[in-house]
Amino acid sequence: MTLDQSTIRQLAEHLENAELNRQPVTKITDDHPEMDWEDAYAIQYEIRRRKEERGGRTAGLKMGLTSQAKMRQMGVSEPVYGFLTDAGSYGDGAEIDTAAFIHPRIEAEVAVMTKSELAGPGCNIGQVLQAVDFVTGAVEIIDSRYENFRFDLKSVIADNTSAAGFVGGSVMRGVDAVDLPTLGVVMEKNGEVVETGAGAAVLGHPATSVAMLANMLAARSEVIPAGTFIMTGGITAAVAVDKGDTINVRFQDLGKVSFRMV
């Protein structure tokens, strides 16, 4: 840690205000080049604490930067994680208010719900597969609080890895009922196929992403409790959405997730 507590609190308020007022800001490492990874997560956890203090619920966790290509591009060997809020939770078929975001983009993902605790270090894919209650298709809405999505890794971790919302699917399957690496995803925007992909785009296997999350949390002496909803990481590239767009994402064996930006 290089930042003191009051700086962390002030940066958390700064970033959360950017979110609440839909006013993008410049990346915080410009003013605090000395900040480290722990500082970045400390700011994210302070934003989470502020929301919970006002009565918000943490609705789950999310993984980011889960493709080898993105990690190489950012020069890191580990993904990043953030949290999901109840305020950002939408159901299949939702009409989503575009004005609630600054410059929203969407990614298709596989999400899991856990039924038992996962703890690192040493958490492995076998433990994850046993701990999964069900898998479902989901769409994450990301919305960086930084101008034009211009950020570095520490800035984006502090900004809750750009998390802004998620749309959950309505088809659930046990983990044995699907082949997660080859599970295909087709994203359609206004009736046109804009992205396709498969589960292996997420670290080779979405369950590997969950194991890495447990192991990263272990560094903070935290576990993934039973009953945690986890967005495992983007299978498709992020696609910009705007008011009036209709989105339909089809998942192999997991139905579809649809919504409209209004």
Partner: protein, 263 residues
């Protein structure tokens, strides 16, 4: 049509020589700026004829330029096609010797259709394609170009048998009624690392659309897709260059896997 019959034949013969001698030529579109798509198909037929004269047999057809990205790159709005011969086919797990067989190969992941009935276009519907399909298989197409550095325009690739090189049929043949060909996911690996993922919809919205397109396009020339033929329906992932030593893998959700090594 802009090229003379004589010029069509000489272009086809030159491409045939390049194929056999593993060398490339400058784009035909540079040599013959007026070349039309119809000219290009006629050149491809001469190239094919030379191969048949050598004793090769047609065992199927391929559809190319099925993704929006490739259509944009070549500035066209429809696919193209080429012929598959017995000399192009490899089986799951085989080695392909680049140094004796290929020039500048690139691997694509596709779904192959094995037909049990003829498809006689035009007027063929998707339901009829499914009825005529015995099985679908995971498949690598190894595209290759007889045009220097792959500097192709649409006419160049069409004349060059749609840049076909060889293809590798995978480990399972699945009844198409048991798989959703639109959402089935594809994972493409090179030397163990995931290099791309995609799904069936990446080829014109569905691989079935591609086969119907080919049946209807060839039908206008009185050519049918025949029972027993292999139809390569178009790549679901971006093409990936391969070199000797590379080991490529392909998995398709609900269908199966394909593997090939290059030497």
């Amino acid at each position: 049509m802009n090229l003379t019959e004589e010029r069509i034949l000489s272009c086809g013969n030159t491409l045939y020589d390049c194929l056999r001698e593993r060398r490339t030529i400058d784009p035909l579109t540079d040599q013959e700026p007026g070349i039309t798509i119809e000219d290009a198909y006629r050149i491809s037929l001469q190239l094919l004829q030379r191969r048949l004269d050598d004793g090769e047999q047609i065992i199927g057809k391929k559809i190319g330029v099925t993704s929006k990205a490739v259509m944009n790159m070549l500035q066209v709005n429809r696919p193209d096609f080429g012929y598959l011969t017995d000399r192009m086919v490899y089986n799951n797990g085989d080695e392909i010797p680049i140094s004796s067989d290929m020039i500048q190969p690139r691997a694509e992941g596709e779904i192959a259709f094995i037909l049990k009935h003829d498809l006689n276009g035009p007027g063929i519907t998707n339901a009829e394609v499914l009825r005529a399909t015995e099985a679908v298989m995971p498949c690598f197409e190894i595209v290759d170009s007889r045009i220097t550095d792959w500097k192709i325009k649409i006419q160049d690739t069409i004349a060059d048998n749609a840049s076909c090189g060889s293809f590798v049929l995978g480990d399972r043949a699945v009844d198409p009624r048991n798989v959703d060909l639109v959402t089935c996911g594809m994972v493409h690996t090179k030397n163990g690392e995931v290099v791309a993922t995609g799904a069936g919809a990446a080829a014109l919205g569905s691989p079935v659309n591609c086969v119907a397109w080919l049946a209807n396009t060839l039908g206008e020339y009185g050519i049918k897709l025949e029972a027993g033929e292999v139809i390569l329906s178009g790549s679901l992932v971006p093409l990936h260059p391969v070199v000797p030593g590379d080991s490529m893998g392909l998995s398709i959700g609900g269908i199966g896997n394909a593997a090939v090594r290059f030497t």
